[in-house]
Amino acid sequence: MPETNRSAAFIDEMINFPSLRKIRLCMQCGTCTGSCPVAQHMEHTPAQLIAMVRADLREEVLGSPALWQCVSCYKCSERCPRGIKVADIIYALKRLSLRSGQASRRTPTPELYRQFVNNVYRHGRVSEFGLMAAYYLKTRPFKAWRALPLAWRLWVHGRSGSGRSGLSPQGRRQVQVLLDRARSLKRT
C-alpha cells in the first residue's frame, strides 16, 4: 500500500507564510497553551491546533471555534522556546478559515470581524457604534436591545462617536482601490 504523503499538504500551505516556517520545530511542550489566557475556553488549544495542522486535519482546524477565541496577546509567540510565532499561526488559520468559508458558525466572532472589515471598506475608518449596531442586528437581533443601557451610558459620557469627520471621498476611494487590489491577489 503506497504511503500517502497527505501529512505534507496542510503544513506546506502553512509554511508558505514567511512568518510560519518554524512550525515544524514545534516539540509540543505546551508552553503556548499554558500561557494562553483563554485556553480553558478553547475547544482546541494552541498546541493542539499545531499538532492538528501537522496531522493534516485541515477541515477540523479551519472549522474550529477555538481560532476565534484568540485575543492576540502574543504571550505564546513571546514564550515559545522554539521561537515559533504561534499568534501569527492563529491569524493565518483565521484567514484561511474565513476565505474558504469554513469559519465556525458556533461562535459569533467571525461575524464581528466580517462587519469590521466591511466597515473599513465602506468608510475607511470604523465607527464603533455603527459596527456594534450592525453586528448585534446581524447576530442577535432579538437581544440587541440588551446593549441599550451601555449604549446609553456611553452616549451620556460623550463616548458614542461621530462629530469628527471621516475620510475625504478621495481618501475613501483610495482605500477601496487598495483593498480591492489586495484581495485580487488571492493571497491569504
Binding site: 507564510f17 514567511p18 489566557p37 483563554v38 475556553h41 476565534w68 477565541q69 485575543v71 492576540s72 496577546c73 502574543y74 504571550k75 509567540s77 513571546e78 491569524y91 493565518a92 483565521k94 484567514r95 474565513l98 476565505r99 461562535t107 459569533p108 466572532t109 461575524e111 464581528l112 470581524y113 469590521f116 472589515v117 473599513v120 475607511g124 475608518r125 470604523v126 465607527s127 464603533e128 456594534m132 453586528y135 447576530t139 451610558r153 456611553l154 459620557h157 460623550g158 463616548r159 462617536g161 461621530s162 462629530g163 469628527r164 475620510l167 478621495q170 481618501g171 483610495q174 482605500v175 482601490v177 487598495l178 483593498l179 487590489r181 489586495a182 484581495r183 491577489l185 493571497r187 491569504t188
Partner: protein, 300 residues
C-alpha cells in the same frame, strides 16, 4: 520643540477613547511636543483585518505611512493595536527580515494604483514611548506642579504595547509606565496582572471569557491596594471601565476602580485644566480620587 505625525486611530477619533485623544493633545502642548494629525488617515485594520487579508492589512498601513513619509517625522499612535499593526507592516516593508522581501514589490504596485509610494522611511511609535523617552530627563519632573502624592495607581500596560517585544521594555514585566507614574509623584502599585490581557474584542462577541479576564486584572490591582488603574490603550480602558459594573453583578464583587489614561494623570500632575483631560468620560467615576489634586492646583 519636537514634531510628530499623530495617528489617533478609530477609537481615539471621536470614539470611546476621546478622553485619551484630548489629554494627549493637552499634555503634548504643555511639554512642547507638536502632534500633527496624519491627513486623511485610514483605519489600520487591527486584528479583524489581519484575520481576513494579510496583504490588505499591510496596504492599509502602507497608505498611512506613505502619506507622511515626505516629512521624515516619526508616526506616533496612542492605540496599542494600531501600534502593533502599523509597526509590523512597517517592519515588513522596511525588509528588515529576508523572509519578508517578497512583500514590498507587491505593496509598491498596490500603492502605485493610488499614486502613493512608501520606501520605509517612517518610524512607528507608541505615545508611551514618546512620553517616556523623548522628554529630557528632569524636564517632566520640573513641569509637575501638583505631584500625585498619596494616589496609589496600578500601571496596566495590557499586551500589545509590550508584545511582540520591540526592545523598549520587558515583554512581561515592563517598568516604563511604573517609572513615569513615579515621576508624577504617584504611589505605584506593581501588580501581577500588569500585562495580562483585558480580553481585547472578545468582550464584544463572547462576553463570558472576557469578563473573567477583566475580573482577574481588577482583583490583582485591588489586592495591591490600588485606587485606580492607569492604561495606555483605548480598548483596555474600555474593557476595564465599561464592564466593571457587569463584573460586579456577575461575580458579586465590589470593584470601584477608576480606569484612567496615563496622559490624564500626566495632565493633572502638570496642573492642566481638567476640562481638557476628558475626566468626565470615565464610566467608573474618577472625580473622587482626583478632586484633591484638582482643588490643590486651583487653590480652592
Amino acid at each position: 520643540m519636537k514634531t510628530y505625525n499623530y495617528f489617533p486611530g478609530c477609537s481615539c477619533s471621536g470614539g470611546t477613547a476621546r478622553a485619551y485623544h484630548r489629554s494627549i493633545l493637552a499634555v503634548a502642548a504643555a511639554l512642547d511636543l507638536t502632534l500633527r494629525e496624519v491627513p486623511d488617515w485610514n483605519c489600520c485594520g487591527s486584528s479583524p483585518y489581519s484575520s481576513y487579508d494579510e496583504m490588505g492589512m499591510v496596504a492599509l498601513s502602507a497608505r498611512n505611512l506613505a502619506l507622511v513619509e515626505a516629512g521624515g517625522l516619526d508616526l506616533v499612535t496612542p492605540c496599542s493595536s494600531c501600534f502593533v499593526t502599523l509597526n509590523w507592516a512597517n517592519i515588513v516593508l522596511q525588509k528588515k527580515l529576508k523572509k519578508h522581501e517578497s512583500v514590498k514589490p507587491v505593496i509598491d504596485e498596490i500603492l502605485a494604483a493610488v499614486d502613493l509610494k512608501y520606501d520605509g522611511g517612517v518610524a512607528v511609535r507608541h505615545i508611551l514611548d514618546v512620553m517616556v523617552n523623548d522628554i529630557e530627563p528632569g524636564r517632566l519632573a520640573a513641569c509637575v506642579s501638583t505631584p500625585l502624592r498619596g494616589l496609589r495607581a496600578a500601571p496596566y500596560y495590557g499586551c500589545q504595547v509590550v508584545r511582540p517585544d520591540t526592545g523598549l521594555d520587558h515583554p512581561e514585566n515592563p517598568l516604563n509606565l511604573d517609572r513615569l507614574l513615579d515621576g508624577l509623584g504617584a504611589e505605584v502599585a506593581d501588580f501581577s496582572h500588569k500585562t495580562a490581557c483585558c480580553g481585547s474584542s472578545l468582550l464584544l462577541s463572547r462576553e463570558d471569557p472576557g469578563l473573567e479576564l477583566v475580573k482577574a486584572i481588577l482583583e490583582s490591582a485591588q489586592a495591591e491596594g490600588a485606587r485606580c488603574l492607569v492604561t495606555v490603550c483605548p480598548l483596555c480602558q474600555s474593557n476595564l471601565d465599561l464592564y466593571q459594573s457587569k463584573v460586579n453583578r456577575r461575580y458579586g464583587t465590589h470593584f470601584n476602580l477608576p480606569v484612567l489614561f496615563f496622559t490624564q494623570l500626566m495632565g493633572i500632575a502638570l496642573g492642566l485644566d481638567p476640562r481638557d483631560l476628558g475626566l468626565d468620560a470615565c464610566l467608573v467615576p474618577a472625580t473622587e480620587i482626583l478632586s484633591a489634586y484638582i482643588k490643590e492646583q486651583h487653590g480652592k
